[in-house]
């Protein structure tokens, strides 16, 4: 298998607050393949945006970012200097934010804003020094003959803005919300990126416009082979656009897998609860199911599963540190769940409740925790979970086979 475009291992971001240390991202690992749309879904405050900002190194000194590895296209992003990082941002990796009105400059025409990005990242051979930019900004404006301006017009056309020459000379407030978001997408394309990080790109838009923008992003991803990391709270959006998805809760990735697997057969109780609580257009339930309780405080987070207080399946092992269990059996992509119910020695009845926790389950878990690694591609970990009945791990992965009786729930 070729190397993924973005590979993040053990990312942890924390903020020092007056009340204590707030862990906003807790030991998160994921990878994004070339041309793939990877979704991160979660409720507000779960740490989705901070995950993206940490990868982009946009947190400055506000938070502490630690990671085993953040590798993008072969380079380690954490070891880059700030100026090198600056050329990656907006170039190789670009970002789309939620509110296009605040991510665009209100006193520059949209053409200027895009042309500026083209000059800095697009290799058009125009001067980008401080004085040249100042002259353009305050005196001459970008020449409509210049390559950067023409490229800006092209980009506006690519993202489906009618009359791009005319529009390029307008200011953000003259455009509608959907058009503005298209401009932001054009800007994101200006640096010829291989990864676009889109943080709630359609949350501020109406459903009809949302569909247009999502289609636009998908088409561009297809056409130019751009990978997309899509951050959203909307499970419907995830379902319709993403290839793989991670469900985030209280700063951790609870379940990661192919979007079809995750929606058709969710394994984590939180994913299950989340899916059940959405009102759907084609169901006739009288009452929506509800996840009782609220998200735990992320300051001085206790060890163990952050969902245990709200989880109807909670059992003895839930206050132990979480490890990642990988499911196999006809999954469309690697499917990982952080829930001790998936420990293959724990017995689970048909309703999904744990009936028995044998000692060897605890022992196996302890060996994994001792190995000091929540992730599963560790040889020693794989060794420790070889099943007594002769099942053995393949490909160096720790396999937790799903038992037949779990299929139903």
């Amino acid at each position: 298998m070729s190397e993924p475009l973005l590979d993040v291992r053990g990312l942890t971001t924390s903020f020092e607050t007056g009340q204590g240390r707030l862990t906003a991202v807790d030991d998160v690992s994921f990878s994004i393949e070339e041309g793939e749309v990877f979704g991160v879904v979660g409720e507000s405050g779960s740490g989705k945006s901070v995950t993206a900002l940490s990868v982009m190194r946009l947190l400055d000194d506000a938070g502490t970012v630690e990671a085993d590895e953040v590798r993008f296209d072969g380079t380690d992003l954490l070891s880059l200097s700030e100026s090198e990082m600056r050329s990656v941002r907006g170039g190789e990796i670009s970002m789309i934010f939620q509110d296009p009105m605040t991510s665009l400059n209100p006193v520059m025409t949209i053409g200027e804003q895009i042309a500026e990005v083209v000059r800095h990242h697009g290799d058009v051979g125009e001067r980008t020094g401080f004085w040249s930019e100042m002259r353009r900004k305050y005196v001459t404006g970008t020449s409509t003959e210049s390559r950067s301006w023409r490229r800006a017009i092209e980009l506006l056309e690519t993202v489906g803005i009618p009359e791009p020459e005319q529009r390029a000379t307008e200011y953000p407030h003259q455009l509608s919300g959907g058009m503005r978001q298209r401009v932001v997408i054009a800007q994101a394309l200006a640096g010829d990126p291989s990864l676009i990080v889109a943080d709630e790109p359609t949350t501020a838009l109406d459903v009809s416009i949302e569909a247009q923008i999502l289609n636009e992003i998908l088409e561009l991803s297809d056409e130019f082979g751009i990978s997309v990391m899509l951050i959203t709270h909307d499970l419907g959006v995830v379902r319709e656009t993403c290839d793989r998805v991670a469900v985030m809760y209280a700063s951790e990735f609870m379940e990661t897998g192919h979007v079809d697997d995750l929606f058709e057969d969710p394994h984590h109780p939180y994913t299950e609860g989340l899916l059940a609580s959405i009102p759907r257009i084609d169901d006739d339930r009288e009452w929506l199911s509800v996840i009782e309780g609220t998200v735990p405080d992320l300051i001085d987070k206790p060890p163990g599963c952050p969902f245990q207080d709200r989880c109807e399946y909670a059992f003895d092992l839930c206050d132990r540190p979480l490890v990642e269990y990988e499911l196999d059996s006809n999954r469309r992509a690697r499917h990982a769940v952080r829930c001790h119910r998936e420990n293959d020695r724990v017995r689970v009845d048909e309703s999904g409740h744990v009936t028995d926790v044998p000692d060897e389950a605890v022992a196996a878990l302890e060996r994994r925790i001792e190995a000091g690694d929540g992730s599963s591609n560790d040889a020693t970990v794989a060794e420790s979970t070889v099943r007594a009945d002769g099942g053995s791990p393949t490909g160096g992965f720790d396999e937790t086979e799903r038992r037949g009786d779990r299929d139903e729930y």
């Binding site: 459903v207 009809s208 416009i209 949302e210 569909a211 247009q212 959405i278 009102p279 759907r280």
Partner: protein
């Protein structure tokens, strides 16, 4: 355009016995746009036609869902219905009484029966008042309770909306978004109203919290026999809570009916396109062609004829641009024939407010021709 349609919405069935709780007839709300001094002397004043001729009725213990894109006038309509705005034209009746021009004490008495829940609980709660002061205010204004009785009533209200007594003396910023919305609900509930107008009450909340609030609102409705006007842009939420649904576009209602009709057998091209563009959690995934291109036109100068024609996938040409379609009952003409008991209900004028009606020239086409163009098939 056939003229023998069963009924137009402007003439409610006279023999209808159960009078709706709230009825709006020909309701309009125009806002004058800000103009320069010169324009003010010379030109005609221009108006934003936020609500432009709306007829609707809300029955007792009924939830009417009001959906549409932003800028379609649904919030303005909600405010006119609750008399927070004065209508520019049209009449409003509440419980058989005309309330269009109420003022002073009479308006205050109306407020006791019609309450409002707002979208953003943070900006609709005074940050300098404690939760108990906020919820107690309507009790004081309407002289409902004071002293120990008031405290008791507050505890009761808090319990009712799922807050604890220990929350009474906290300030809004100490609550989560869902809890704040619960305070808003408790405040509306305090005067024991008959009708609550809820303007996007859950759109600022997370999905799991949304479910909690929707369930709470349904439970309260069952218990107190409340009616709701539930304004939202999220169709799945509206479907879940409503009995009847009205779809708005540029200040007008383009389709209304029972929720089963609207969601099971949508007729107006706009409703169809809107339903089609919702990202779904189940079913087909990925990339459907978006049926709705472009943005809604300006409500200052809406298109002639049918307002939706500039974006309509079924645009028929002159017919659509010429006359403005009126709301007409679907039953007789619908391509998909409604179940017989409904046809009967409509033709006898029994449930005049529950009828499925749309405003579209396309409906006048023969069902065969429509099927050929049907975007959903």
């Amino acid at each position: 355009m056939s003229t023998d349609s069963l009924e137009t919405s402007t003439a409610p069935a006279a023999e209808s016995t159960d009078e709706p709780l709230l009825r709006a007839t020909g309701l309009r709300k125009y806002f004058q746009t800000e103009t320069g001094l010169l324009d003010r002397f010379l030109g005609e004043p221009t108006h934003v036609k936020a609500v432009d001729g709306v007829n609707l009725a809300v029955g007792e213990r009924e939830t009417l869902g009001l959906v549409g894109e932003s800028g379609c006038g649904k919030t303005t309509l909600g405010r006119v219905l609750s008399r927070l705005y004065d209508p520019s034209a049209g009449t409003l009746e509440f419980d058989g009484e005309e309330i269009t021009d109420l003022g002073g004490d009479e308006l205050k008495r109306l407020r006791k029966r019609v309450q409002v829940i707002f979208q953003d609980p943070m900006s609709s709660l005074n940050p300098r008042k404690t939760a108990s002061e906020i919820v107690a205010k309507p009790l004081e204004v309407h002289d409902i309770a004071s002293g120990a009785e008031k405290r008791e009533r507050l505890a009761e209200l808090f319990d009712e909306v799922g807050l604890q007594e220990s929350h009474l003396d906290r300030y809004p910023h100490e609550f989560s978004g869902g809890q704040r919305q619960r305070i808003g609900i408790a405040r509306a509930l305090a005067v024991e109203p008959d009708l609550i107008i809820a303007d996007e009450p859950v759109s600022a909340l997370d999905v799991s919290v949304q479910a909690q609030i929707i369930n709470l609102m349904k439970r309260l409705q069952d218990k107190y026999g409340l009616s709701y006007v539930f304004i939202a842009h999220d169709l799945s939420v509206v479907k879940h809570i409503s009995d009847r649904v009205a779809v708005m576009y540029l200040g007008k209602i383009v389709e209304r009916g029972r929720k089963e009709d609207i969601f099971g057998n949508p007729q107006h091209p706009y409703t169809r396109a809107l339903l089609h563009s919702i990202p779904r959690v189940d079913g087909e995934r990925k990339r459907h062609e978006s049926l709705l291109e472009g943005n809604p036109p300006s409500p200052i100068d809406p298109p002639s004829g049918c307002r939706f024609r500039t974006r309509c996938p079924e645009y028929l040409g002159d017919e659509c641009a010429g006359t403005e379609p009126e709301l007409r009952a679907v039953a007789g003409e619908s391509g998909t024939v409604p179940p017989p008991e409904r046809v009967e209900a409509i033709s006898t004028g029994g449930e005049s407010s529950a009828e499925h009606a749309i405003a579209c020239h396309w409906l006048g086409r023969s069902s065969e021709r429509r099927e050929n163009q049907d975007p959903m098939s």
